[in-house]
C-alpha cells in the first residue's frame, strides 16, 4: 500500500516535469506533420465504412483548425507558408467522402481560390458540388464570381449567375453579372462580394482572412480613385504609386496588409507584389530585402 502511494507520487512528479516540455514540443511541431497525410481516397472510403460523412467532416475540421493556427502565426510574421497543396488535397478527399459537405466547398472558395490562385481547380470542385447540392445557390454564385473576376469569362459568369438567380429567386445576380462586364468595376464588386461573405461568416479565422482581403481591396480602391483624379488633372496615367503619394493625390500612403508593395501596371491597373496572399507578400518582401542588402 505504502509502496503504491510512493510510486504514484513519483509518477505524478515525473509527469509534471514532463508535461511542459511535451506540450511545448507538440505546439511547435511542424505544420505539415500536424496536418498529416491522407491516404488515397479509395482507402479512406473503405476504412471509414458507414462513417463517410463523419470522416469527411473530420477532414474539413482538420483543415480549418490548421488554417486557424496558421493565420495567427502569419500575422505574427512567422516564416512558414501554409501547406496549401495538403489543404487542397484534404478538401478534395473530403468531398469525395461526402459530396454534399458545404463547408468543404465554402473553404475552397474562401481560402484556396484567393490564396493559391487555383481558380480552375476550384471551379471543377464547384461544378462537382453542383451535381449534388442541386438546391444550393451558393455554389453557382461562387463559380460565377470566379469566372467573372478571375477568368474574365463574362459569358460563363452570366450562365452561373442565372442559375444562382433561379435557385435563390433573387434578382441581385442579374445585376451582378451586368456590372462585371466592365473592368473598372472589378475592385468595387470584389469589395461587395467580400463584404457579403465576411458578414455571414462565423468562423473567426476565415472571417479574419476576409477582413484582411477587404482591407487590401479598400487600399486598391483608394489608389484607383487617386489614379483617376491624377489622370483627369494631367491627362496621363501616373507612372508609379509613389508619384500619387508625392503629389498629394494619395494620403496617407497605401499599406498592403499582406506585406507587399502596390504598383501600377503599364495599363494603369493597380497590382501588388504580394498578389493578395501572405506567402507571396513575404517572398516579395524578402526579395526586396536581399536586393537592398546587395
Amino acid at each position: 500500500m505504502k509502496k503504491a502511494i510512493v510510486f504514484l507520487a513519483i509518477s505524478l512528479m515525473v509527469y509534471l516535469l514532463l508535461i511542459v516540455p511535451f506540450a511545448n514540443y507538440m505546439r511547435t511541431k511542424p505544420f505539415v506533420e500536424k496536418l498529416g497525410y491522407v491516404p488515397t481516397v479509395a482507402a479512406v472510403k473503405a476504412a471509414s465504412a458507414d462513417q463517410k460523412e463523419f470522416v469527411g467532416a473530420l477532414l474539413v475540421m482538420k483543415v480549418l483548425m490548421y488554417f486557424g493556427g496558421q493565420i495567427d502565426k502569419q500575422q505574427n510574421k512567422l516564416p512558414s507558408p501554409p501547406d496549401y497543396p495538403a489543404m487542397s488535397r484534404m478538401i478534395h478527399s473530403a468531398v469525395q467522402l461526402d459530396p454534399y459537405n458545404m463547408d468543404a466547398y465554402y473553404f475552397a472558395q474562401a481560402i484556396l481560390v484567393w490564396d493559391v490562385g487555383k481558380v480552375e481547380i476550384a471551379n471543377e470542385l464547384l461544378d462537382y458540388g453542383m451535381k449534388y447540392r442541386s438546391w444550393d445557390w451558393y455554389l453557382p454564385f461562387f463559380a460565377g464570381f470566379n469566372h467573372a473576376y478571375f477568368l474574365k469569362d463574362y459569358a460563363g459568369a452570366a450562365r452561373y449567375y442565372k442559375r444562382a438567380g433561379e435557385l435563390s429567386g433573387s434578382k441581385l445576380f442579374k445585376s451582378l453579372a451586368g456590372r462585371y462586364l466592365q473592368e473598372s468595376g472589378r475592385t468595387h464588386l470584389a469589395l461587395v462580394y467580400l463584404s457579403a461573405m465576411e458578414k455571414g461568416e462565423k468562423n473567426q479565422a476565415v472571417k479574419k482572412s476576409f477582413r484582411t482581403r477587404i482591407l487590401a481591396f479598400q487600399e486598391v480602391r483608394r489608389i484607383e480613385v487617386a489614379r483617376d483624379r491624377y489622370k483627369a488633372a494631367t491627362g496621363v496615367f501616373p507612372d508609379t504609386v509613389e508619384v500619387l503619394v508625392k503629389e498629394q493625390y494619395l494620403s496617407p500612403p497605401p499599406v498592403d496588409p499582406y506585406g507587399g508593395q502596390f504598383f501600377l501596371e503599364p495599363d494603369g491597373r493597380v497590382a501588388t507584389t504580394s498578389k493578395f496572399a501572405f506567402a507571396a507578400g513575404k517572398n516579395a518582401a524578402n526579395k526586396n530585402k536581399v536586393q537592398g542588402e546587395r
Binding site: 473503405a46 465504412a49 460523412e53 454534399y100 463547408d103 462565423k202 468562423n203
Partner: protein, 263 residues
C-alpha cells in the same frame, strides 16, 4: 422462448451494458458545441455527429454482445442448465438472438431520442438553410438499427461455429468492413475503370457481392443529413433484403448449433 428473450434482456441489463451506453451517450452533450465550429452547416454537422455516434454505439453492441453472449453462456455453463430444460437448441439460439436484437432496438430508440433533442437544439441556435427532414432522420436511425441487427445475426452465425469469442468478434468486424465496401467494389468492377481486370477477379468479386451482406444499402445518413428524398421502393426492397438475409443466416446458425458437440 419469450422467457428466454426476457432472461437475455435482463442479463444484458445486469451486466450494466445500458449504463455503459448512457455514459458514452454523454458525448451527445458536446455535439452542439462541436458542430458550431462548422462554417456553413452547423445543423447538418450536428446531425452527422449524432448519427455517427448512434452508429458507433450500435456497432460496438452488435459486435460484442453478438460475439460474446453464446460463448459466455457456454463458459459459465449456463447453456447446459438451460438446454436441460425442455427447449430445443434452435429455440435457445433464436431466443438469445431476439433478446439481443430487442436490446439493440431499444438502444436505437433511446439514442434516437437523444439525436432528436440535440438536432432540434442545434437547429434553433443556428437555423439550417434547409429544414431538417425529421422523418428521414427517424428512418435513418431505424435502418441503422436494422443494419446492426443483421450484423448481430452474422455474429451469432460465427458464435454457433466457434468455441471462443475470437472468431465471432473479429469475424464480425471483418464482415462489417467488407459489407460496407462490397457495393463500391461491385460498382468499380462494372465501370470502365474495371474493364482491365481479369474475368476471374471480376467473377469472384461479383460472387462475393451476392454472398456477403450489403450493409451500404442500410446507410441513409446522406439523406438524413442533407434532406435528400428517399426512394420508397428502395426502402421496401432493403427491408425485404433484411428479412430474407437474416432468416437465412439464423437458419444456418440453428443448423450448425444443433449439430454441434457441446462439452
Amino acid at each position: 422462448m419469450n422467457t428466454l428473450i426476457h432472461v437475455t434482456l435482463k442479463g444484458i441489463f445486469r451486466d450494466r451494458v445500458f449504463q455503459g451506453i448512457m455514459v458514452t451517450a454523454l458525448v451527445f452533450l458536446f455535439i452542439p458545441s462541436i458542430a458550431s465550429l462548422s462554417m456553413r452547416q452547423v445543423t447538418e454537422l450536428s446531425v452527422t455527429l449524432s448519427l455517427s455516434l448512434v452508429s458507433f454505439i450500435l456497432l460496438l453492441l452488435a459486435i460484442f454482445l453478438g460475439g460474446t453472449s453464446i460463448w459466455k453462456d457456454i463458459e459459465r455453463r449456463y447453456t447446459f442448465t438451460v438446454l436441460g430444460l425442455p427447449l430445443a437448441r434452435g429455440g435457445y439460439l433464436l431466443g438469445k438472438f431476439c433478446g439481443t436484437a430487442l436490446f439493440l432496438l431499444l438502444t436505437a430508440v433511446v439514442l434516437g431520442a437523444a439525436t432528436f433533442l440535440v438536432v432540434s437544439w442545434s437547429s434553433t441556435i443556428y437555423p439550417a438553410a434547409r429544414p431538417v427532414a425529421w422523418g428521414t432522420l427517424a428512418l435513418c436511425i431505424l435502418f441503422d438499427a436494422m443494419k446492426y441487427i443483421l450484423l448481430l445475426a452474422c455474429a451469432f452465425l460465427f458464435s454457433s461455429l466457434s468455441t471462443s469469442f475470437f472468431l465471432p468478434v473479429f469475424g464480425t468486424i471483418a464482415l462489417f468492413l467488407t459489407g460496407n465496401v462490397t457495393q463500391q467494389v461491385y460498382d468499380y468492377i462494372h465501370s470502365s475503370a474495371g474493364a482491365a481486370l481479369s474475368p476471374l477477379v471480376k467473377q469472384s468479386a461479383t460472387g462475393l457481392y451476392y454472398l456477403l451482406p450489403n450493409l451500404s444499402a442500410f446507410n441513409l445518413k446522406v439523406n438524413a443529413i442533407y434532406g435528400i428524398p428517399l426512394s420508397p421502393s428502395g426502402l421496401l426492397l432493403t427491408a425485404g433484403y433484411f428479412v430474407v438475409y437474416i432468416s437465412a443466416l439464423l437458419s444456418v446458425s440453428v443448423l450448425i448449433f444443433t449439430r454441434r458437440e457441446l462439452r
